[in-house]
């Protein structure tokens, strides 16, 4: 019988195979091998350090680190000490540090972390920008091996934790102050891994390669936690290096021969778009590239396949997972030795919410299946009034499972609005077809751009504050960029009179949104007062204005990009 805590799993691997490699950590053209023995020893050093700093069982430890193995050691160290760790993103190069830290004030007020593990530059910024910043910080030592721990023996109370204790928090993406801490128990994470590994036919020979950040469930659970729990090898790349040179992932696959990789849809496109034309790679070790966390597009798979079929990739290597942090990670997954199901449906009926087979001479749409629910997972699709919908009718997806989250940390009210009799209301739209789940969109105004979630109303709020924009008269919409096969954000704005320089307006809007949300607005369309269409209730309609934009029937005051 396997141990029922994550820390005990790590201890077990270290005891059984101390010299086997847990992770090959790639950074700036260097590769560091970390064995299971190293992992446990360094995590234990962190546990000791935490205890010396007064961290007690159940305390929250926030980890905000760039690409470094200390991410692993500090996280597992917190588990060993019985604390509750949580990864969070660090400010990007284009984000303003003062805004980043001000946004964290209300979050920290709610979470009351006992300790924040971060790098020196970020620690200094926290003290500079938050008045009376009172959260204790811990900066990993420069040594790549160990934090500077004292010699006191570690009390690894986390090893003996109950399987039903909260192990860690996964923080949802979106505006920092509104992030929700998804509580996951040891049991939930271990049971999820068992069910997911079974679906993936995962074996001890599998090896995961990842460039994904750990503050996102795909990088954290699918890549890091699976490797930790299963005791398999992980090849880890720096997310920022990958964005600059996505080819690094292909080079790592060729060199280290991993078998599994998770990518959001945009990443498949980015690899195709930004890999040297003509360069070839041997990708034949790969059992699966799993597309997850964004709507998966058949066209994206086709481009990836065409570009890399010479490297050994076939249709049966391209897969899809539907995942959500509230279900630890995966709820459904396509079967690995088969090509993912694609169905061709009647486009008109689809836009009206019904799935009908494609008819002759009618517009059609291809949809990719997200696969069957994992063992222990049940999925229903419901109408707006909560009634269960039959297959082939689009509605809101609800998930129940044996490893569902335990609620949002210190947010019982919010938990109650999302959890109903053991069913989690996802906010995602989709339908069931032949027992498989198809995901089609969102109930709310969430936009998924490059794997990250943004809410249209948050973008519109920031845009409204820009001089020259009529307050409350802007719309943020997600649009397909055909050139790069990506979803981009376009902002339609009604301007005050007299109309200023459109170029200046665009620059102000882009900077404001980039500095605060880290999101690059693709294009800005300035309009005269009254041009945006309203709903019958008087609100500006995102759907109708998006249609007008796509049809090209909105008369812009001037092309505000350099394309004019």
């Amino acid at each position: 019988m396997h141990p029922r805590t994550i820390g005990a799993r790590v201890a077990g691997h270290a005891k059984r195979k101390p010299h086997e490699i847990f992770c090959t950590f790639l950074s700036s053209q260097t590769a560091e091998d970390i064995t299971f023995g190293d992992l446990f020893e360094r995590a234990t050093a962190y546990a000791r350090l935490y205890q010396a700093r007064g961290v007690r069982q159940g305390d929250i430890v926030i980890i905000i680190l760039r690409h470094t193995p200390h991410l692993y050691y500090s996280f597992l160290g917190a588990l060993l000490a019985g604390a509750i760790p949580s990864f969070m993103p660090f400010p990007s190069a284009k984000q303003r540090s003062d805004i980043y830290w001000h946004d964290h004030e209300s979050l920290f007020e709610r979470l009351r972390p006992r300790l924040v593990v971060t790098y020196e530059e970020n620690r200094v910024a926290a003290h500079a920008y938050i008045d009376n910043f009172s959260v204790e910080t811990l900066v990993p030592s420069a040594s790549p091996c160990q934090p500077s721990a004292d010699a006191a023996p570690a009390n690894l109370s986390g090893l003996a934790a109950s399987a039903d204790d909260v192990a860690c928090l996964q923080h949802s993406s979106g505006t920092t102050g509104l992030k929700k801490g998804v509580m996951l128990t040891h049991r939930a994470i271990l049971d999820h891994t068992e069910a997911y590994s079974k679906r993936l036919s995962f074996t001890s020979d599998d090896c995961i390669v990842s460039w994904l950040p750990l503050y996102h469930d795909m990088g954290f659970i699918a890549c890091f936690m699976t490797s930790v729990i299963e005791g398999t090898r992980l090849i880890a790349l720096d997310p920022f290096e990958w964005v600059m040179r996505p080819q690094l992932l292909l080079e790592a696959i060729q060199r280290y021969r991993p078998s599994l990789c998770w990518l959001p849809n945009f990443a498949f496109s980015h690899i195709v778009n930004a890999t040297q034309p003509g360069a070839t790679f041997d990708l034949s070790s790969m059992r699966a590239f799993v597309n997850c966390s964004e709507p998966c597009k058949p066209g994206t798979f086709e481009r990836f396949l065409k570009r890399f079929e010479g490297g050994g990739i076939t249709r049966t290597n391209l897969h899809i997972c539907y995942a959500l942090a509230e279900n630890v990670f995966a709820a459904t997954q396509t079967t690995l030795d088969e090509a993912a199901t694609v169905i061709r449906v009647d486009a008109k009926a689809f836009s009206a919410g019904t799935i009908l087979p494609a008819g002759a001479d009618k517009p059609t749409q291809d949809l990719l299946s997200c696969g069957l629910p994992l063992d222990g997972v049940s999925i229903t699709v419901r109408g707006e009034d909560g009634t269960l919908l039959p297959p082939d009718i689009i509605g809101e997806i609800f998930v129940a499972s044996t490893f569902l989250f335990s609620g949002y940390y210190l947010q019982q009210d919010l938990t109650d609005t999302k959890l109903h009799d053991g069913w989690y209301q996802t906010g995602d739209l989709g339908f069931m077809h032949d027992g498989e789940l198809f995901v089609t969109g969102r109930v709310d105004d969430m936009l998924i751009v490059n794997g990250r979630n943004y809410y249209a109303h948050e973008i519109e709020y920031l845009v409204s504050e820009v001089p020259g924009v009529l307050a409350g008269r802007s719309v943020a919409i997600g649009v397909d960029d055909q050139q790069h096969d990506a979803t981009v954000v376009v902002v339609l704005v009604e301007c005050t009179e007299p109309i200023g320089q459109p170029d200046d307006l665009a620059r102000f809007i882009r900077r404001r949104v980039l500095e605060r949300l880290g999101l690059a607005i693709h294009s800005i369309v300035p309009l005269r007062s009254g041009q945006l269409v309203k709903t019958t209730s008087g609100k500006i309609s995102r759907i109708k204005n998006k249609q007008l934009y796509i049809q090209g029937t909105l008369t812009s005051l001037g092309d505000v990009s350099a394309t004019s």
Partner: protein, 88 residues
């Protein structure tokens, strides 16, 4: 601006036109930033850098290429990497 810089800017502008779908006559300035151009985000930035490396036959350091503030800094980086010394 020297002749060499003029040439670099002309060739950088050509790569920008391809990367961002800009019109045939578009020419950037040293002060041009990502906020001035439709669709210049972190992903298209990496495609731009790839195009620049091909155009000038150089390899740019990743960390600095990612933190550029404007086209002028990109031109400096190209020159430091040994690009722009002749027509490639």
């Amino acid at each position: 601006m020297s002749l060499a810089e003029d040439d670099i800017l002309r060739r950088v502008s050509a790569v920008m036109r391809t990367t961002f779908g800009l019109p045939a006559g578009y020419v950037a300035s040293a002060e041009t930033t990502s906020a001035d151009i439709d669709g210049w985000d972190s992903l298209s930035h990496s495609i731009l850098i790839l195009g620049i490396e091909e155009q000038f036959g150089v390899e740019l350091p990743m960390d600095r290429a990612f933190e550029l503030h404007d086209v002028g800094e990109l031109m400096e980086l190209i020159q430091e990497a040994g690009g722009g010394n002749g027509a490639d």
